[in-house]
Symmetry: C2
Subunit: 162 residues, 2 copies
Protein backbone atom coordinates (compact mmCIF):
# COMPACT_ATOMS: atom_id res chain seq x y z
CA UNK A 1 0.00 0.00 0.00
CA UNK A 2 2.94 2.30 0.44
CA UNK A 3 5.73 1.46 -1.99
CA UNK A 4 7.97 4.17 -0.65
CA UNK A 5 9.21 1.90 2.16
CA UNK A 6 10.25 -1.60 1.20
CA UNK A 7 11.57 -2.97 4.48
CA UNK A 8 11.68 -2.29 8.18
CA UNK A 9 14.48 -3.81 10.24
CA UNK A 10 15.56 -4.01 13.86
CA UNK A 11 18.94 -4.66 15.44
CA UNK A 12 19.04 -5.30 19.18
CA UNK A 13 22.59 -6.51 19.69
CA UNK A 14 23.95 -2.97 19.85
CA UNK A 15 24.99 -0.33 22.32
CA UNK A 16 25.14 3.46 22.23
CA UNK A 17 28.21 5.44 23.27
CA UNK A 18 28.30 9.21 23.34
CA UNK A 19 31.12 11.66 24.00
CA UNK A 20 29.53 14.69 25.61
CA UNK A 21 30.86 18.20 25.32
CA UNK A 22 33.90 17.77 23.11
CA UNK A 23 35.34 20.80 21.34
CA UNK A 24 33.57 21.69 18.12
CA UNK A 25 36.82 22.06 16.19
CA UNK A 26 38.51 20.35 13.22
CA UNK A 27 40.14 17.05 14.06
CA UNK A 28 37.94 16.02 16.97
CA UNK A 29 35.81 13.48 15.14
CA UNK A 30 38.91 12.26 13.33
CA UNK A 31 40.68 11.67 16.65
CA UNK A 32 37.87 9.60 18.08
CA UNK A 33 37.26 7.44 15.03
CA UNK A 34 40.93 6.92 14.33
CA UNK A 35 41.29 5.51 17.84
CA UNK A 36 38.33 3.18 17.32
CA UNK A 37 39.48 2.09 13.88
CA UNK A 38 43.00 1.39 15.15
CA UNK A 39 41.50 -1.34 17.35
CA UNK A 40 39.25 -2.54 14.54
CA UNK A 41 36.07 -1.48 16.32
CA UNK A 42 33.32 -1.49 13.75
CA UNK A 43 31.02 1.49 14.18
CA UNK A 44 27.49 1.41 12.74
CA UNK A 45 25.72 4.75 13.21
CA UNK A 46 27.59 7.98 13.87
CA UNK A 47 25.30 10.84 14.84
CA UNK A 48 26.29 14.40 15.62
CA UNK A 49 23.78 17.25 15.66
CA UNK A 50 23.92 20.96 16.54
CA UNK A 51 26.83 22.37 18.50
CA UNK A 52 26.34 24.78 21.41
CA UNK A 53 28.90 27.23 22.74
CA UNK A 54 31.70 25.61 20.74
CA UNK A 55 31.03 22.16 22.15
CA UNK A 56 29.25 19.20 20.65
CA UNK A 57 28.35 15.60 21.39
CA UNK A 58 29.38 12.72 19.15
CA UNK A 59 27.31 9.56 19.49
CA UNK A 60 27.83 6.23 17.82
CA UNK A 61 26.68 2.63 18.04
CA UNK A 62 28.70 -0.58 18.21
CA UNK A 63 27.82 -4.24 18.62
CA UNK A 64 27.42 -5.42 22.19
CA UNK A 65 30.46 -7.70 21.76
CA UNK A 66 32.59 -4.62 21.10
CA UNK A 67 31.10 -2.47 23.85
CA UNK A 68 33.69 -3.13 26.54
CA UNK A 69 36.60 -2.29 24.31
CA UNK A 70 34.82 0.58 22.56
CA UNK A 71 33.95 2.16 25.87
CA UNK A 72 37.57 2.01 27.03
CA UNK A 73 38.74 3.65 23.83
CA UNK A 74 36.00 6.27 24.00
CA UNK A 75 36.99 7.13 27.58
CA UNK A 76 40.64 7.58 26.60
CA UNK A 77 39.60 9.73 23.65
CA UNK A 78 37.36 11.81 25.89
CA UNK A 79 40.27 12.61 28.17
CA UNK A 80 42.58 13.35 25.25
CA UNK A 81 39.94 15.64 23.73
CA UNK A 82 39.17 17.27 27.09
CA UNK A 83 35.51 16.41 26.74
CA UNK A 84 32.95 16.68 29.50
CA UNK A 85 31.52 13.20 29.88
CA UNK A 86 30.59 9.84 28.47
CA UNK A 87 27.17 8.28 27.92
CA UNK A 88 26.97 4.50 27.54
CA UNK A 89 23.71 2.63 27.07
CA UNK A 90 23.36 -1.04 26.22
CA UNK A 91 19.60 -1.09 26.47
CA UNK A 92 19.03 0.24 23.00
CA UNK A 93 17.97 -1.02 19.61
CA UNK A 94 18.18 0.33 16.11
CA UNK A 95 15.01 0.53 14.05
CA UNK A 96 15.32 1.39 10.39
CA UNK A 97 13.08 1.78 7.38
CA UNK A 98 14.49 1.60 3.88
CA UNK A 99 13.02 2.38 0.52
CA UNK A 100 14.15 3.95 -2.69
CA UNK A 101 10.75 5.56 -2.90
CA UNK A 102 11.40 7.78 0.10
CA UNK A 103 13.23 10.34 -1.93
CA UNK A 104 11.16 13.45 -2.36
CA UNK A 105 8.28 12.09 -0.29
CA UNK A 106 8.27 14.04 2.98
CA UNK A 107 5.27 12.10 4.22
CA UNK A 108 7.36 8.99 4.71
CA UNK A 109 9.46 10.34 7.56
CA UNK A 110 6.35 11.87 9.11
CA UNK A 111 4.57 8.53 8.92
CA UNK A 112 7.58 6.73 10.43
CA UNK A 113 7.77 9.10 13.39
CA UNK A 114 3.99 9.14 13.80
CA UNK A 115 3.88 5.33 13.98
CA UNK A 116 6.42 5.34 16.78
CA UNK A 117 4.62 8.18 18.56
CA UNK A 118 1.32 6.31 18.49
CA UNK A 119 3.07 3.28 19.96
CA UNK A 120 4.38 5.58 22.70
CA UNK A 121 7.97 4.88 21.69
CA UNK A 122 10.49 7.58 22.55
CA UNK A 123 13.00 8.21 19.75
CA UNK A 124 16.45 8.61 21.30
CA UNK A 125 18.46 9.35 18.16
CA UNK A 126 17.74 9.86 14.48
CA UNK A 127 19.93 9.61 11.39
CA UNK A 128 18.54 9.61 7.89
CA UNK A 129 19.64 9.43 4.30
CA UNK A 130 17.56 9.73 1.15
CA UNK A 131 16.68 6.08 1.22
CA UNK A 132 16.90 5.15 4.89
CA UNK A 133 15.52 6.34 8.21
CA UNK A 134 17.42 4.96 11.20
CA UNK A 135 16.60 5.63 14.80
CA UNK A 136 17.66 4.44 18.20
CA UNK A 137 15.02 3.50 20.76
CA UNK A 138 15.10 1.80 24.12
CA UNK A 139 15.57 -1.95 23.76
CA UNK A 140 12.36 -2.58 25.68
CA UNK A 141 10.44 -0.54 23.07
CA UNK A 142 12.05 -2.26 20.11
CA UNK A 143 9.49 -4.95 19.34
CA UNK A 144 6.60 -2.57 19.82
CA UNK A 145 8.28 -0.05 17.52
CA UNK A 146 8.90 -2.69 14.87
CA UNK A 147 5.28 -3.81 15.01
CA UNK A 148 4.03 -0.25 14.71
CA UNK A 149 6.18 0.36 11.63
CA UNK A 150 5.21 -2.99 10.19
CA UNK A 151 1.61 -1.88 10.44
CA UNK A 152 2.14 1.68 9.26
CA UNK A 153 3.94 0.56 6.12
CA UNK A 154 2.21 -2.76 5.56
CA UNK A 155 5.43 -4.76 5.60
CA UNK A 156 7.05 -7.86 7.00
CA UNK A 157 9.68 -7.01 9.58
CA UNK A 158 13.27 -8.26 9.38
CA UNK A 159 15.25 -9.14 12.48
CA UNK A 160 18.89 -8.50 11.93
CA UNK A 161 20.71 -8.94 15.20
CA UNK A 162 23.79 -8.24 13.24
CA UNK B 1 43.04 2.53 -4.53
CA UNK B 2 40.31 2.30 -1.93
CA UNK B 3 37.28 0.44 -3.28
CA UNK B 4 35.37 0.95 -0.06
CA UNK B 5 34.25 4.42 -1.17
CA UNK B 6 32.93 4.73 -4.69
CA UNK B 7 31.82 8.34 -4.83
CA UNK B 8 32.06 11.61 -2.95
CA UNK B 9 29.36 14.22 -3.50
CA UNK B 10 28.57 17.75 -2.42
CA UNK B 11 25.30 19.64 -2.25
CA UNK B 12 25.48 23.38 -1.65
CA UNK B 13 21.93 24.48 -2.33
CA UNK B 14 20.79 23.53 1.17
CA UNK B 15 20.10 25.06 4.54
CA UNK B 16 20.17 23.74 8.10
CA UNK B 17 17.33 24.25 10.56
CA UNK B 18 17.45 23.07 14.15
CA UNK B 19 14.87 23.05 16.89
CA UNK B 20 16.76 23.48 20.13
CA UNK B 21 15.61 22.13 23.47
CA UNK B 22 12.37 20.37 22.58
CA UNK B 23 10.96 17.79 24.99
CA UNK B 24 12.51 14.35 24.65
CA UNK B 25 9.14 12.61 24.64
CA UNK B 26 7.13 10.48 22.21
CA UNK B 27 5.39 12.44 19.51
CA UNK B 28 7.74 15.40 19.31
CA UNK B 29 9.56 14.38 16.14
CA UNK B 30 6.24 13.27 14.66
CA UNK B 31 4.71 16.68 15.33
CA UNK B 32 7.52 18.56 13.60
CA UNK B 33 7.75 16.35 10.54
CA UNK B 34 4.00 16.09 10.11
CA UNK B 35 3.86 19.89 9.96
CA UNK B 36 6.63 19.99 7.34
CA UNK B 37 5.13 17.18 5.30
CA UNK B 38 1.70 18.80 5.34
CA UNK B 39 3.20 21.68 3.34
CA UNK B 40 5.15 19.31 1.11
CA UNK B 41 8.52 20.44 2.44
CA UNK B 42 11.06 17.85 1.38
CA UNK B 43 13.55 17.14 4.13
CA UNK B 44 16.93 15.61 3.30
CA UNK B 45 18.93 14.85 6.46
CA UNK B 46 17.31 14.52 9.87
CA UNK B 47 19.84 14.34 12.68
CA UNK B 48 19.14 13.97 16.37
CA UNK B 49 21.79 12.94 18.87
CA UNK B 50 21.94 12.54 22.66
CA UNK B 51 19.30 14.11 24.86
CA UNK B 52 20.17 16.03 28.03
CA UNK B 53 17.87 16.64 30.97
CA UNK B 54 14.83 15.42 29.04
CA UNK B 55 15.42 17.85 26.19
CA UNK B 56 16.89 17.32 22.77
CA UNK B 57 17.63 19.13 19.53
CA UNK B 58 16.23 18.04 16.18
CA UNK B 59 18.14 19.27 13.15
CA UNK B 60 17.29 18.81 9.50
CA UNK B 61 18.24 20.15 6.10
CA UNK B 62 16.07 21.49 3.30
CA UNK B 63 16.75 23.03 -0.10
CA UNK B 64 17.39 26.75 -0.08
CA UNK B 65 14.19 27.26 -2.12
CA UNK B 66 12.19 25.77 0.74
CA UNK B 67 14.03 27.55 3.53
CA UNK B 68 11.65 30.45 4.00
CA UNK B 69 8.60 28.27 4.30
CA UNK B 70 10.40 25.57 6.30
CA UNK B 71 11.64 28.13 8.80
CA UNK B 72 8.11 29.48 9.33
CA UNK B 73 6.78 25.99 9.92
CA UNK B 74 9.68 25.13 12.23
CA UNK B 75 9.04 28.27 14.28
CA UNK B 76 5.37 27.41 14.68
CA UNK B 77 6.27 23.87 15.67
CA UNK B 78 8.82 25.16 18.17
CA UNK B 79 6.14 27.23 19.91
CA UNK B 80 3.65 24.35 19.86
CA UNK B 81 6.29 22.01 21.30
CA UNK B 82 7.45 24.60 23.87
CA UNK B 83 11.00 24.33 22.61
CA UNK B 84 13.81 26.70 23.58
CA UNK B 85 15.02 28.12 20.30
CA UNK B 86 15.64 27.84 16.58
CA UNK B 87 18.90 27.64 14.66
CA UNK B 88 18.84 28.51 10.96
CA UNK B 89 21.93 28.49 8.77
CA UNK B 90 21.99 28.89 5.00
CA UNK B 91 25.75 28.91 4.74
CA UNK B 92 26.12 25.17 4.82
CA UNK B 93 26.83 22.32 2.44
CA UNK B 94 26.39 18.59 2.61
CA UNK B 95 29.40 16.41 1.85
CA UNK B 96 28.84 12.69 1.50
CA UNK B 97 30.84 9.59 0.71
CA UNK B 98 29.14 6.45 -0.47
CA UNK B 99 30.36 2.93 -0.96
CA UNK B 100 29.07 -0.55 -0.43
CA UNK B 101 32.53 -1.43 0.75
CA UNK B 102 32.27 0.67 3.88
CA UNK B 103 30.40 -1.98 5.77
CA UNK B 104 32.62 -3.54 8.39
CA UNK B 105 35.56 -1.30 7.56
CA UNK B 106 35.96 1.14 10.45
CA UNK B 107 38.94 2.74 8.78
CA UNK B 108 36.73 4.38 6.17
CA UNK B 109 34.94 6.73 8.55
CA UNK B 110 38.25 7.50 10.24
CA UNK B 111 39.81 8.33 6.89
CA UNK B 112 36.85 10.52 5.93
CA UNK B 113 37.04 12.54 9.13
CA UNK B 114 40.84 12.69 8.98
CA UNK B 115 40.74 14.10 5.46
CA UNK B 116 38.44 16.89 6.59
CA UNK B 117 40.54 17.53 9.68
CA UNK B 118 43.72 17.87 7.62
CA UNK B 119 41.93 20.36 5.39
CA UNK B 120 40.98 22.27 8.55
CA UNK B 121 37.30 21.75 7.86
CA UNK B 122 35.02 21.82 10.88
CA UNK B 123 32.33 19.14 10.78
CA UNK B 124 29.04 20.64 11.94
CA UNK B 125 26.81 17.56 11.79
CA UNK B 126 27.26 13.90 11.02
CA UNK B 127 24.82 11.20 9.97
CA UNK B 128 25.91 7.82 8.71
CA UNK B 129 24.49 4.56 7.46
CA UNK B 130 26.32 1.37 6.55
CA UNK B 131 27.00 2.60 3.06
CA UNK B 132 27.03 6.37 3.41
CA UNK B 133 28.76 9.02 5.48
CA UNK B 134 27.03 12.40 5.32
CA UNK B 135 28.18 15.52 7.04
CA UNK B 136 27.33 19.18 7.11
CA UNK B 137 30.12 21.74 6.83
CA UNK B 138 30.22 25.46 6.33
CA UNK B 139 29.51 26.39 2.72
CA UNK B 140 32.81 28.22 2.49
CA UNK B 141 34.61 24.99 3.41
CA UNK B 142 32.67 22.84 0.96
CA UNK B 143 35.00 22.87 -2.04
CA UNK B 144 38.07 22.36 0.12
CA UNK B 145 36.33 19.47 1.89
CA UNK B 146 35.37 17.88 -1.41
CA UNK B 147 38.90 18.18 -2.70
CA UNK B 148 40.32 16.64 0.45
CA UNK B 149 37.97 13.66 0.21
CA UNK B 150 38.61 13.34 -3.51
CA UNK B 151 42.29 13.01 -2.67
CA UNK B 152 41.88 10.75 0.33
CA UNK B 153 39.75 8.28 -1.60
CA UNK B 154 41.23 8.77 -5.03
CA UNK B 155 37.91 9.63 -6.64
CA UNK B 156 36.23 12.07 -8.98
CA UNK B 157 33.88 14.40 -7.17
CA UNK B 158 30.23 14.85 -8.07
CA UNK B 159 28.42 18.16 -7.72
CA UNK B 160 24.77 17.66 -6.99
CA UNK B 161 23.20 20.97 -6.11
CA UNK B 162 20.02 19.08 -5.63
C1 LIG C 1 32.66 17.80 16.98
C2 LIG C 1 33.50 17.39 15.81
O1 LIG C 1 32.73 16.81 14.81
C3 LIG C 1 34.32 18.55 15.24
N1 LIG C 1 33.43 19.60 14.77
C4 LIG C 1 35.20 18.04 14.11
O2 LIG C 1 35.20 18.60 13.05
O3 LIG C 1 35.89 17.08 14.23
C1 LIG D 1 13.10 14.51 20.53
C2 LIG D 1 12.13 13.60 19.84
O1 LIG D 1 12.79 12.80 18.91
C3 LIG D 1 11.36 12.72 20.81
N1 LIG D 1 12.25 11.90 21.58
C4 LIG D 1 10.35 11.88 20.04
O2 LIG D 1 10.31 10.69 20.21
O3 LIG D 1 9.62 12.36 19.24
Amino acid sequence: DNPSVTAVAMAKNIAKIGLVGVPDAPGVAAHLFSRLSARSIDVDLVIQSLSHEKLNDIAFTVSTEDLLQAERIAREALVELKGQGLVVDQMVAKIAAVGSGMLGRPGVAARFFQALAEADVNIQMIGTSEIKISCIVSRQDAERALGALHQAFGLAAVHSDE
